[in-house]
Protein backbone atom coordinates (compact mmCIF):
# COMPACT_ATOMS: atom_id res chain seq x y z
CA UNK A 1 0.00 0.00 0.00
CA UNK A 2 1.67 3.16 -1.16
CA UNK A 3 0.73 6.78 -0.68
CA UNK A 4 -1.44 8.19 -3.50
CA UNK A 5 -0.29 11.19 -5.47
CA UNK A 6 -3.24 13.26 -4.23
CA UNK A 7 -1.96 13.10 -0.65
CA UNK A 8 1.33 14.71 -1.64
CA UNK A 9 -0.48 17.35 -3.70
CA UNK A 10 -2.86 18.07 -0.81
CA UNK A 11 0.07 18.60 1.60
CA UNK A 12 1.75 20.81 -0.98
CA UNK A 13 -1.40 22.90 -1.53
CA UNK A 14 -2.02 23.22 2.21
CA UNK A 15 1.51 24.46 2.87
CA UNK A 16 1.26 26.84 -0.09
CA UNK A 17 -1.93 28.42 1.22
CA UNK A 18 -0.51 28.61 4.75
CA UNK A 19 2.37 30.57 3.24
CA UNK A 20 -0.02 32.77 1.25
CA UNK A 21 -2.01 33.55 4.38
CA UNK A 22 1.22 34.39 6.21
CA UNK A 23 2.36 36.78 3.48
CA UNK A 24 -1.03 38.48 3.47
CA UNK A 25 -1.61 38.85 7.21
CA UNK A 26 1.72 39.18 9.00
CA UNK A 27 3.25 42.60 9.66
CA UNK A 28 6.86 41.57 10.22
CA UNK A 29 8.92 41.72 7.01
CA UNK A 30 11.24 38.87 8.10
CA UNK A 31 8.24 36.58 8.76
CA UNK A 32 6.86 37.51 5.33
CA UNK A 33 10.16 36.31 3.80
CA UNK A 34 9.84 33.04 5.76
CA UNK A 35 6.33 32.53 4.41
CA UNK A 36 7.55 33.10 0.84
CA UNK A 37 10.12 30.35 1.45
CA UNK A 38 7.33 28.03 2.64
CA UNK A 39 5.40 28.72 -0.57
CA UNK A 40 8.45 27.98 -2.75
CA UNK A 41 9.02 24.74 -0.85
CA UNK A 42 5.40 23.67 -1.32
CA UNK A 43 5.79 24.21 -5.05
CA UNK A 44 8.91 22.02 -4.97
CA UNK A 45 6.94 19.16 -3.43
CA UNK A 46 4.27 19.41 -6.14
CA UNK A 47 6.95 19.46 -8.87
CA UNK A 48 8.70 16.34 -7.55
CA UNK A 49 5.43 14.45 -6.95
CA UNK A 50 4.03 15.17 -10.43
CA UNK A 51 7.34 14.34 -12.10
CA UNK A 52 7.43 10.99 -10.22
CA UNK A 53 3.92 10.11 -11.39
CA UNK A 54 3.69 11.49 -14.91
CA UNK A 55 7.27 12.31 -15.91
CA UNK A 56 8.07 10.82 -19.31
CA UNK A 57 11.68 11.93 -19.03
CA UNK A 58 13.37 11.01 -15.77
CA UNK A 59 14.10 13.71 -13.19
CA UNK A 60 12.82 16.63 -15.28
CA UNK A 61 10.85 17.88 -12.28
CA UNK A 62 13.91 17.64 -10.06
CA UNK A 63 15.78 19.94 -12.45
CA UNK A 64 13.10 22.59 -11.96
CA UNK A 65 13.39 22.09 -8.19
CA UNK A 66 17.14 22.76 -8.41
CA UNK A 67 16.43 26.02 -10.22
CA UNK A 68 13.79 26.94 -7.63
CA UNK A 69 16.48 26.40 -4.96
CA UNK A 70 18.71 28.88 -6.79
CA UNK A 71 15.92 31.45 -7.09
CA UNK A 72 14.98 30.98 -3.41
CA UNK A 73 18.56 31.54 -2.27
CA UNK A 74 18.89 34.69 -4.39
CA UNK A 75 15.48 35.93 -3.26
CA UNK A 76 16.15 35.51 0.46
CA UNK A 77 19.58 37.17 0.19
CA UNK A 78 18.29 40.24 -1.66
CA UNK A 79 15.09 40.35 0.43
CA UNK A 80 16.98 40.37 3.70
CA UNK A 81 19.33 43.04 2.35
CA UNK A 82 16.31 45.22 1.52
CA UNK A 83 14.80 44.60 4.97
CA UNK A 84 18.12 45.48 6.64
CA UNK A 85 18.60 48.70 4.69
CA UNK A 86 14.99 49.71 5.37
CA UNK A 87 15.59 48.95 9.06
CA UNK A 88 18.69 51.15 8.99
CA UNK A 89 16.71 54.13 7.70
CA UNK A 90 13.87 53.68 10.18
CA UNK A 91 14.24 51.11 12.95
CA UNK A 92 11.17 49.04 12.13
CA UNK A 93 10.43 45.86 10.20
CA UNK A 94 6.68 46.44 10.32
CA UNK A 95 5.57 46.59 6.71
CA UNK A 96 2.68 48.91 7.66
CA UNK A 97 5.13 51.52 8.92
CA UNK A 98 7.47 51.38 5.91
CA UNK A 99 5.56 53.71 3.62
CA UNK A 100 8.22 56.12 2.36
CA UNK A 101 7.52 55.04 -1.23
CA UNK A 102 3.74 55.05 -0.88
CA UNK A 103 2.10 57.14 -3.59
Amino acid sequence: MSVPLGAFIAVSATLFFIGTAGVLVRRNAVVILMCVELMLNAANLALVAFSRRYGAVDERGSVFVVFVFVIAAAEVAVGLAIVLSAYRNRPTVDVDEIRAMKG
Partner: protein, 171 residues
Protein backbone atom coordinates in the same frame (compact mmCIF):
# COMPACT_ATOMS: atom_id res chain seq x y z
CA UNK B 1 4.85 -10.10 7.62
CA UNK B 2 4.88 -7.21 5.22
CA UNK B 3 6.03 -3.74 6.08
CA UNK B 4 3.65 -2.03 3.66
CA UNK B 5 2.03 0.00 6.39
CA UNK B 6 5.28 1.83 7.15
CA UNK B 7 5.15 4.19 4.17
CA UNK B 8 1.69 5.69 4.87
CA UNK B 9 2.54 6.03 8.57
CA UNK B 10 5.78 7.86 7.78
CA UNK B 11 3.91 10.02 5.29
CA UNK B 12 1.27 10.88 7.90
CA UNK B 13 3.89 11.88 10.46
CA UNK B 14 5.77 14.03 7.93
CA UNK B 15 2.56 15.64 6.62
CA UNK B 16 1.49 16.50 10.17
CA UNK B 17 4.94 17.97 10.82
CA UNK B 18 4.86 20.07 7.65
CA UNK B 19 1.36 21.44 8.19
CA UNK B 20 1.50 22.01 11.96
CA UNK B 21 4.94 23.64 11.87
CA UNK B 22 4.00 25.69 8.80
CA UNK B 23 0.85 26.96 10.49
CA UNK B 24 2.85 27.73 13.62
CA UNK B 25 5.27 29.89 11.57
CA UNK B 26 2.31 32.08 10.64
CA UNK B 27 0.65 32.05 14.08
CA UNK B 28 3.51 32.21 16.58
CA UNK B 29 4.48 35.59 18.01
CA UNK B 30 8.16 34.93 18.79
CA UNK B 31 10.10 35.42 15.61
CA UNK B 32 13.11 33.24 16.51
CA UNK B 33 10.76 30.35 17.24
CA UNK B 34 9.09 31.00 13.88
CA UNK B 35 12.47 30.73 12.11
CA UNK B 36 13.29 27.43 13.86
CA UNK B 37 9.81 26.04 13.08
CA UNK B 38 10.42 26.98 9.45
CA UNK B 39 13.62 24.90 9.57
CA UNK B 40 11.59 22.00 11.01
CA UNK B 41 9.08 22.35 8.17
CA UNK B 42 11.94 22.14 5.67
CA UNK B 43 13.32 19.01 7.40
CA UNK B 44 9.92 17.28 7.20
CA UNK B 45 9.75 18.30 3.55
CA UNK B 46 13.15 16.65 2.97
CA UNK B 47 11.63 13.46 4.41
CA UNK B 48 8.81 13.77 1.87
CA UNK B 49 11.35 14.01 -0.95
CA UNK B 50 12.95 10.80 0.32
CA UNK B 51 9.52 9.11 0.29
CA UNK B 52 9.14 10.23 -3.32
CA UNK B 53 12.51 8.71 -4.18
CA UNK B 54 14.26 12.03 -4.84
CA UNK B 55 17.18 11.53 -2.46
CA UNK B 56 19.41 14.09 -4.18
CA UNK B 57 16.75 16.77 -3.87
CA UNK B 58 16.33 15.83 -0.20
CA UNK B 59 20.06 16.31 0.35
CA UNK B 60 19.96 19.69 -1.41
CA UNK B 61 16.93 20.60 0.67
CA UNK B 62 18.80 19.92 3.92
CA UNK B 63 21.93 21.72 2.70
CA UNK B 64 20.30 24.79 1.15
CA UNK B 65 17.05 25.31 3.04
CA UNK B 66 17.79 23.90 6.50
CA UNK B 67 21.41 25.03 6.35
CA UNK B 68 21.81 28.21 4.36
CA UNK B 69 18.40 29.88 4.19
CA UNK B 70 17.52 29.29 7.85
CA UNK B 71 20.86 30.75 8.92
CA UNK B 72 20.30 33.78 6.66
CA UNK B 73 16.83 34.32 8.12
CA UNK B 74 18.23 33.99 11.66
CA UNK B 75 20.83 36.65 10.76
CA UNK B 76 17.96 38.85 9.61
CA UNK B 77 16.17 38.26 12.93
CA UNK B 78 19.38 39.07 14.81
CA UNK B 79 20.09 42.30 12.94
CA UNK B 80 16.58 43.67 13.37
CA UNK B 81 16.10 43.47 17.14
CA UNK B 82 12.55 44.08 18.27
CA UNK B 83 10.39 43.48 21.26
CA UNK B 84 7.62 40.94 20.94
CA UNK B 85 4.61 42.89 19.84
CA UNK B 86 1.27 42.67 21.60
CA UNK B 87 -0.92 40.08 19.95
CA UNK B 88 -3.46 42.73 18.94
CA UNK B 89 -0.86 44.35 16.65
CA UNK B 90 0.25 41.00 15.33
CA UNK B 91 -1.88 40.71 12.21
CA UNK B 92 -2.54 43.36 9.61
CA UNK B 93 -5.84 45.15 9.26
CA UNK B 94 -6.83 43.20 6.15
CA UNK B 95 -6.72 39.83 7.97
CA UNK B 96 -10.46 38.94 7.59
CA UNK B 97 -10.46 39.81 3.89
CA UNK B 98 -7.20 37.89 3.38
CA UNK B 99 -8.70 34.88 5.17
CA UNK B 100 -11.74 34.89 2.89
CA UNK B 101 -9.58 35.20 -0.25
CA UNK B 102 -7.20 32.43 0.80
CA UNK B 103 -10.07 30.11 1.78
CA UNK B 104 -11.84 30.78 -1.52
CA UNK B 105 -8.69 29.79 -3.40
CA UNK B 106 -7.68 26.92 -1.12
CA UNK B 107 -10.93 24.95 -0.97
CA UNK B 108 -11.25 24.27 -4.75
CA UNK B 109 -7.55 23.46 -5.04
CA UNK B 110 -7.66 21.05 -2.10
CA UNK B 111 -10.78 19.34 -3.50
CA UNK B 112 -9.07 19.10 -6.88
CA UNK B 113 -5.87 17.71 -5.37
CA UNK B 114 -7.68 14.67 -4.00
CA UNK B 115 -8.75 13.73 -7.54
CA UNK B 116 -5.19 12.49 -8.21
CA UNK B 117 -5.72 8.95 -7.03
CA UNK B 118 -2.92 7.16 -8.86
CA UNK B 119 -0.13 5.77 -6.72
CA UNK B 120 3.31 7.29 -6.98
CA UNK B 121 5.67 4.71 -8.51
CA UNK B 122 8.03 3.00 -6.13
CA UNK B 123 11.25 4.98 -5.82
CA UNK B 124 14.04 3.39 -7.73
CA UNK B 125 16.77 5.23 -5.88
CA UNK B 126 19.96 6.68 -7.31
CA UNK B 127 18.44 9.70 -9.02
CA UNK B 128 21.70 11.64 -9.18
CA UNK B 129 22.99 10.49 -12.63
CA UNK B 130 19.73 11.35 -14.41
CA UNK B 131 19.50 14.67 -12.58
CA UNK B 132 23.09 15.59 -13.42
CA UNK B 133 22.61 14.67 -17.08
CA UNK B 134 19.50 16.83 -17.26
CA UNK B 135 21.11 19.83 -15.57
CA UNK B 136 24.42 19.79 -17.43
CA UNK B 137 23.22 18.63 -20.88
CA UNK B 138 19.60 19.61 -21.51
CA UNK B 139 19.54 22.61 -19.18
CA UNK B 140 23.13 23.80 -19.51
CA UNK B 141 22.16 27.31 -20.62
CA UNK B 142 19.61 27.92 -17.80
CA UNK B 143 22.27 26.58 -15.43
CA UNK B 144 24.70 29.29 -16.58
CA UNK B 145 21.96 31.92 -16.33
CA UNK B 146 21.28 30.73 -12.78
CA UNK B 147 24.94 31.19 -11.85
CA UNK B 148 24.88 34.74 -13.26
CA UNK B 149 21.69 35.37 -11.26
CA UNK B 150 23.39 34.18 -8.05
CA UNK B 151 26.37 36.45 -8.75
CA UNK B 152 24.05 39.40 -9.36
CA UNK B 153 22.11 38.63 -6.16
CA UNK B 154 25.34 38.42 -4.16
CA UNK B 155 26.65 41.74 -5.49
CA UNK B 156 23.24 43.35 -5.04
CA UNK B 157 22.92 42.16 -1.44
CA UNK B 158 26.41 43.45 -0.60
CA UNK B 159 25.70 46.85 -2.19
CA UNK B 160 22.33 47.13 -0.41
CA UNK B 161 23.67 46.48 3.08
CA UNK B 162 27.02 48.26 2.68
CA UNK B 163 27.29 51.30 4.89
CA UNK B 164 27.99 54.50 3.01
CA UNK B 165 31.54 55.39 4.10
CA UNK B 166 31.29 59.08 3.17
CA UNK B 167 28.06 59.79 5.01
CA UNK B 168 29.31 57.82 8.04
CA UNK B 169 32.49 59.94 8.12
CA UNK B 170 30.57 63.20 7.80
CA UNK B 171 28.39 62.42 10.80
Amino acid sequence: MTLDFVEPVVFGVLAAGVIVAGAAVVLINRITAAALLMAFTFLCMAGMFVLLGAETIAAFQVLIYVGAITVLILYGVMFTPQADRPYALFFQKQTPLAGVVVAAAAIPVLLLSFSFVGAVPKPGGDDLPALATSVFVDFAFPFEVASVLLLAAMVGAIVLVKRDEDSEARR
